[in-house]
Structures are given as C-alpha cells and as structure tokens.
C-alpha cells in the first residue's frame, strides 16, 4: 500500500468524510468570507440590536454593527491562532522530546520534571495567571496555548523515541558510528513522526477550544476585534432582543470544532492509535 493511501484512509470512514467536508466548507467560508461581507465589521452600520432584516440578515449587535459581516470576518482569528499555537507547540515539544528521549544525559530528568510541573497546572488556570501577569495580547495568548501542549507532546515524542532507539536499525547505526544529527534525522525522527502526528488533529481541536474559551472570558482578543467567541460574549446581554447575534457564532464554533474533531479522530484511527487510549495514557 502506498503512503498516500495510508494517509487518505481516514477519509473512508463515515465520520471522517463528514468531518472533512465540514472542515473544508468552513475553511472556504473563512477564506472568502471577508470578501462577501456587506459591511466593515467594526463600522456602526445601523441601530443597535435590530432583528434580522433584508438589510441586516443576522441583525445588528449592541453597538449597531452588522452581525453577518462580523461573523464572516470572525473565523480567521480562531482558526489562524489555533493553528499557529499548535505548530509552535509541536516544534518545541518534538525537539524537547527527541533530545530528552535520545540523550540519556541530565537533560532528560530535568526536562521531564519541568514538564511534570506544567502538567500539574490546569491549562485554563495557567492562561488566566498569564493574563494577570503579562496582560492580554495576541502573542501572550498564542504562546500560552502553545505552552499548554508542550509537556504532553514532549512526553509522547520522548517515549516513542526511547522505544525506537532500542530497535536494531538504530543500534546498527550507532555501531557503525553515525553522528547524532544523522541518527536523529535519518533513523529516529521518520519513525517517530507517525505517532506524533497521529494526535495533531486532536491537539488542534484542543487549541481551538481553549483559545475560544479565553477569548470568550474576555481575557484574550480585545474589542473591537471580530471573533466568534468574543461575539458570543459581547452579545449575550442582548440575547433577548437579537438572539441570532449569539446563535450564529455559537453554531459556527460548534460546527468548526465538531468537524475538525471528526477528522482528527478518523486520522488517529487510521494511523492505528485510538484517541481514547491516548488520553487515558496521557
């Protein structure tokens, strides 16, 4: 079987297909949405809290901005920042795990104890503390979310590296005197990659969840940014007058997280690792 076939196998499961279709649809919406937006998302376009009308298909928010335009703009931050945070987490976590797993130096226990401590702090609490100390800004938010993932990624990569390092082909490479970069790059990394990427999707979902939550609490992105989570938070007060201003972004977030998670789950399954067990094993 070719590698491509393995990679695409996830799409064969029913849920995987639904998830893939949903994710692509949303990505398209997020990409072209701003072009379709009838109004400037932060411009006051009419009276506050109007019902849906021909002029404002989803009504207006508490400041009189067009909800549809804000919805069309509001997916970029959530997807973009989550992808960024997850990638950063992988870059850092994989490097730490690879080094700690292969070099049996003092580095390993040191790094792992540090990771233990990070794991002992609830992720949301960590982000709240960060927001208190370092203020609310996009870099703080992204770095914070990335940091939350680093310990578990490092652990998985480390365990997998340690396992691969006992294999005959790695020992054969050691016995013929290959240097560290060649050992890590040629022999170990390619064989660790599968395990590592198996739950990338799940981590992306987790990033979206926590990023959106922090934004919703008002501790991440700040007004007047158009962001789905922030919109829910802003428009809750007017829920009785224009419930669509809350319902639309809420449903979109639900649609996004469910689609991404369906794909993530199917990918993990096709790579032979059950997501459930991953989480049990932490």
């Amino acid at each position: 079987m070719t590698a491509l076939a393995v990679r695409l196998r996830f799409a064969r499961t029913g849920y995987g297909k639904v998830g893939l279709a949903g994710s692509l649809l949303l990505l398209a919406l997020i990409a072209v949405g701003p072009l379709l937006a009838p109004y400037d998302p932060s411009a006051i376009a009419g009276l506050p809290l109007q019902h849906a009308s021909r002029q404002f298909p989803l009504g207006t928010d508490g400041l009189g901005r067009d909800v549809l335009s804000r919805v069309l703009w509001g997916g970029r931050s959530i997807v973009g920042l989550s992808v960024l945070a997850t990638s950063l987490a992988y870059a850092a976590g994989a490097s730490i795990g690879l080094l700690a797993g292969y070099t049996k130096s003092i580095l390993d226990p040191l790094l792992m104890r540090a990771m233990d401590v990070l794991l002992a702090v609830p992720p949301l609490l960590f982000l709240l503390v960060l927001a208190t100390g370092a203020g609310r800004s996009i870099p703080v938010l992204v770095l914070g979310v990335a940091t939350v993932h680093v310990p578990s990624i490092a652990r998985i990569v480390r365990a997998s590296t340690q396992e691969v390092a006992t294999h005959g082909y790695v020992e054969a490479a050691v016995a013929r005197g290959e240097r560290l970069p060649a050992l890590l790059g040629r022999e170990i990394l390619p064989n660790v990659l599968g395990t590592v990427l198996a739950d990338a999707g799940i981590r992306l979902t987790a990033s979206i969840l926590i990023l959106a939550s922090v934004n919703f609490l008002g501790l991440g992105l700040q007004p007047p940014a158009a962001d789905w989570a922030l919109m829910i938070s802003e428009n809750r007060g007017g829920i009785a007058l224009n419930s669509l201003a809350v319902a639309a972004p809420a449903l979109l977030i639900a649609f996004l997280t469910i689609s991404v998670n369906l794909v993530a789950d199917a990918v993990a399954r096709s790579l032979g690792t059950s997501t459930d067990r991953k989480r049990v094993a932490r």
Binding site: T166, H167, G168, Y169, E171, A172, V174, R176, P190
Partner: protein
C-alpha cells in the same frame, strides 16, 4: 460410536469474506492418545485447534465440518450450548499463561471458577493443584498470577484445564517463552498426568522436536490442510510427504551435528494458495499433474495418511553429518579477544551484574557460540563486542589492539570489521528506508564508497544472501521475516567485515526459514572466511553451525570447548541439565 476421544471430519474454516483458512481437515484422536498438531506459522494449526472448542476468532468462521468429543457432537451448536462442554468435555491450555490468566483473580479462584458451586469445590481445587505439583497451601492459592513464575503460571492453567476431568485437553504451544529446562519438566509432567488420568491431548506446536518428545501420533499441516498423519515415530523417521521431510531436515539437533537442509521458497498465505497442490511451488518432486488437481489425503498403509500424488517418490530421510571442523590448527593470533569482561546494567540505584570474568577468543574464520538461557548475560556480551554497551571491567581486543568501549570512540576501520545482526527481524531494518538504502549505508559510511558505488554494490550483496535483486526497491514492511534477516545480513556484509556478531538472529523465525538462514551463514563462512560470534539459547543451532561453544550460567562461563565433545559429554552440572533438556528428534 464412542471409540475415539475426538473425531474431526471435513472441517472448513474461512474468513468472513469466504476465503478458506482451513479446509478439508479430518483426523481422529484415540482415548488416552497424544496427538501432535504440527505446522509453521500460517498453516492454520491454531485456528483448527480453537475450532475444536467451537470457537473462531473475530474475522473467521467455522463454515463446515463435524466435531465429536467422546461421542458428543459439539459442532453446529449455538455459542450458549457449546459453552457447556468447554472445560468439561474438552478444555484448553493457552499459549501464553502470563496473558491468559486474569490478572485480578486469585489463582485458586481461577481454577475454582471452572467448577459448579459445591461444598467440595475447595477439595477439588486442592486436588488439581496437587496433580500439577503446585503447593496446596491456602496462601499459595490466594496469590495473583503475577506472583508466580512462568512455569507455575502454566501449571495453574493446566490445573484449570484438568479440574473438570475432560476427555480431551487442547494445548496450544504451552511451553512458548519457557526456558528449556522448565519446558522439559512441564512436558514430562504433562505426559505423566496423561498416563495417570487417561485423557487425550491435542498438542499444537511449531516445534517438531518438542512434539517428538510427547506425541503418539503426528498430524502435519501446511496451508490449511493436513498433509500427513501417522504414528509419531514412523512419521519422524520415514516421512512420506515432501513437506514433512523438508521440515524434519530443517530441525537442528543438539546431539548430532548435522547439515541442515532448508525448504526452498516461502510458505503460501491465506488467499494466495495456488490451484492444485499448495506445496507445488516448493516441491522438488512435483509433476505436471500436481498443479492441476488437488491431491486427496490418501491411506498408505500402516495407519498412515498422506496428501501427495507422488508420495512413493519421496526420498528417505538421510541426515548428513557435519564434517568436524574442530580440527582448527593452533593459530597464535586470534582475530578478536575478550578479556575478563564484566558488564553491568544500571537500573535505579544499584547495578545488576550481567556478566563477569568472561574471556574468550575468536580466530579468523571461526564460529564461536555463546549459549545460555534468558538472563544469562549473553546478549550483553555481544553488545560489548559491538560497542553498544560499555563494559564495567575488562577489554575487547581486535588483532591484539584494545578497542574503545563504545562504537563512537572506535576507529572507522574497527567499526567496519565488526558488524552485528539483531534478533528481531521486525525492528532490525528502518521501516522508512528501502532495502537498497539500508544496505548501501554501511558501504558509504564505513568504506567511503560514493553513493553510486554503494548502490552498485547492493545487487551483489543481495545475491550473496540469495535474495532477488528486485527486492532492492522494497520497504521492509513488504518482506517476510526470513527475508528481512537476510537483508540485515547483507547490510552487515556491505561493510566487508571480518566478524559478524549474530544475536539470536533466527529465534523469531520458523524452523524451515531458520534452516535457510543458518545454511546461508555456513556458506558465507566458506566463501568469505568470516568469523562469527553466535548468540543463542538453542543447542541445536550451536551444534549445526558453531566450532566452539561457551556455556553461560548467570553471567559466568561455566564450561567451554569444541562443540562436538562438549555436547556429547558435558561436564558441568548446568551444561548437563541443559543438554538433557534440549528437545531432540534423534532419540525417542
């Protein structure tokens, strides 16, 4: 009606897709008889055995056939109906008791749960424990499986299988993973129990030598069919099917060093069976008719059956003794010398001594074997030689010059001259590299070949290890276990070494594949003048390949000498036990 303990007729088991796994299987087991069901991996022996309990693993189903146990028909019943007979009429001893015993149930209860609730339950469990010579103390029965040794765990499983006094006991490779001495004890005990209690046994195994020590009758399976069926002694001494013959010729014998003969080709898997005789592609005596018609299991007289059109032409078994190569002239300069080696494993806190005071030398072109059971330190010694483990004390010398403890500190030339091949064929090759890449790398790294030159060398090397050149572009995942080990040998040869360290390189292979790899090693020695350091637990392998042998017991060399004389008359008590326990085809 009730003349057989077990009668199987026309059994067919297929994948859910309809592809046959086992077909046209029929055999009988008399009361108090031990039947050895023999086959290599993929032969369908375990699938057949499980079917005797009316059980099929997920993905396969029993499509046809009748099974009678002591006159009771247990085929064609519903799961709930057949369950009443399991354990009572026919019981099962699993392959790996460590996994099959429930980790959170006390061992006494695991046996007791087989019985109905009754006041005598305790007494019955007691009896069963006593039968298999386990302590009957209450304290012992209250232990959990992990608190028992491997041999004891298997005895508990046997006690559970016997406690309801079944007519037939099915044993599925029950000695896998046990040391030879433990295995010999267990086999002796099973045989004794069987004589005392008179139950019949179906003993499933890939190991002909083990089966030879216990079975009255042997059924050989190949590609999901019975190919030969007859009294054990006769089948072993004068096999009538060419596959049985090949299998017997592949089994190394610890007492009589003989030349191994492998069966050419590879076993066919489910779904790739050719029309006609499934053995035809590998058969030396096939005729045109073999590829057209499917031979039937035919009675050949003397209570024997064989499935072969040309069985009369099957040659007689003619073992060929190995020429005694012990006549090595005294060579002053040895290639490799190990002096007073001591190695430790550092766990948490204190260090565990893997071996100590080990000294030996290997001359150019010589094959020295290190023999020992698991935990004897033999693999650690191999790793010290290859520079993968730093010794705590002692030296490794190459041509009289001391080597650095770890490979990274050795000269490229020293690294080139000593190569190592590992035990597990499934992790000895990088799954992301093509065969050609794996083989070419040492030539580039250690001999300074250019990429082009190294790739050119690949075809030669593949030929050296008797593999077709087209495998060069494959990934390891597309190769069989035997093919992978050959590629690993080719990778070692690519460095143009003087010595290859072979760490249990055949222990994960089927016996006919093992014979082929051992044959290859012997040929390479003759062609290239290679020296070999052979690490193994199998005295049979030693006797078929090695010149000299060192016996290790818990990290210390307890005896060493020329293979022939050492195996013929061991002096140390431990070696004697080992030699006595090693299964063999030669004496029955």
């Amino acid at each position: 009606m009730n003349e057989h303990a077990l009668a199987v007729d026309d059994l067919r088991i297929e994948l859910v897709s309809g592809e046959p796994v086992v077909e046209d299987v029929s055999f009988r087991v008399g009361h108090g008889e031990v039947l050895g069901l023999v086959g290599e991996s993929g032969s369908g022996k375990t699938t057949t055995a499980l079917a005797l309990l009316g059980y099929a693993r997920p993905g396969v189903r029993i499509a046809n056939g009748t099974i009678d146990v002591a006159g009771t028909r247990i085929s064609g019943l519903s799961e709930a109906q057949v369950r009443r007979y399991r354990g009572r009429l026919i019981s099962y001893v699993p392959q790996d008791p460590a996994a099959a015993l429930n980790p959170s149930v006390r061992v006494g209860d695991q046996v007791g749960n087989m019985l109905e609730r009754s006041s005598e339950k305790e007494a019955h469990v007691d009896d069963a424990f006593e039968l298999v010579q386990l302590p009957t103390a209450r304290d012992f029965r209250r232990r959990f499986p992990h608190q028992l040794s491997g041999g004891q765990q298997q005895r508990v499983a046997i006690a559970a299988a016997l406690v309801c006094k079944p007519a037939v006991v099915l044993m599925d490779e029950p000695t896998t993973g046990l040391d030879v001495v433990t295995q010999a004890n267990l086999l002796a005990q099973v045989r004794r129990l069987q004589r005392e209690l008179g139950f019949a046994i179906v003993y499933v195994s890939h190991d002909l030598a083990v089966v030879a020590s216990i079975a009255d009758r042997i059924v050989v399976m190949y590609a999901g069919r019975v190919v030969e069926d007859g009294p054990a002694a006769r089948v072993l001494s004068e096999p009538q099917h060419p596959y049985s013959l090949g299998l017997i010729a592949s089994v190394p014998d610890p007492r009589e060093p003989r030349v191994l003969r492998s069966i050419p080709g590879v076993a066919v898997g489910v779904g790739e069976r050719p029309p006609g005789c499934p053995f035809a592609p590998r058969c030396p005596q096939r005729i045109a008719a073999c590829e057209e018609s499917d031979p039937r299991l035919e009675r050949t007289g003397g209570d024997r059956l064989v499935r072969c059109l040309e069985w009369r032409r099957t040659p007689t078994l003619a073992p060929e003794w190995r020429a005694p190569s012990g006549a090595l002239p005294s060579r002053p300069a040895s290639l490799l010398a190990v002096e007073e080696l001591r190695a430790e494993h550092r766990g948490r806190g204190d260090a565990v001594v893997a071996c100590s005071g080990v000294s030996f030398a290997i001359a150019q072109g010589e094959c020295v074997a290190l023999v020992g059971e698991s935990g004897s330190g033999k693999t650690t010694i191999a790793r010290c030689v290859a520079g993968l483990h730093a010794p705590a004390r002692g030296r490794v010398l190459l041509d009289g010059a001391a080597l650095a403890p770890l490979a990274a500190g050795r000269t490229p030339d020293a690294r080139r001259r000593i190569q190592i091949v590992f035990q597990n064929p499934y992790d000895s090759l990088n799954p992301r590299h093509r065969v050609a890449q794996s083989i070419a790398r040492p030539a580039q790294a250690l001999r300074g070949y250019s990429r082009k030159a190294a790739e050119h060398a690949v075809a030669d090397l593949l030929e050296r290890v008797r593999l077709p050149a087209r495998l060069a572009t494959r990934f390891p995942g597309e190769l069989s276990g035997g093919e992978r080990q050959r590629v690993a040998v080719a990778r070692a040869l690519a460095a143009d070494p003087d010595l290859i360290v072979c760490d249990e390189i055949t222990s994960a292979l089927d016996v006919s594949v093992q014979a082929a790899v051992l044959e290859l090693l012997a040929d390479l020695r003759a062609e290239l003048g290679l020296a070999l350091l052979l690490i193994t637990h199998d005295l049979g392998v030693v006797s078929s390949v090695a010149d000299r042998v060192l016996v290790l017991d818990q990290g210390v060399v307890c005896e060493q000498g020329a293979v022939r004389s050492l195996l013929a008359s061991p002096e140390h008590a431990y070696t004697q036990r080992l030699v006595a326990a090693a299964p063999t085809l030669s004496v029955r």
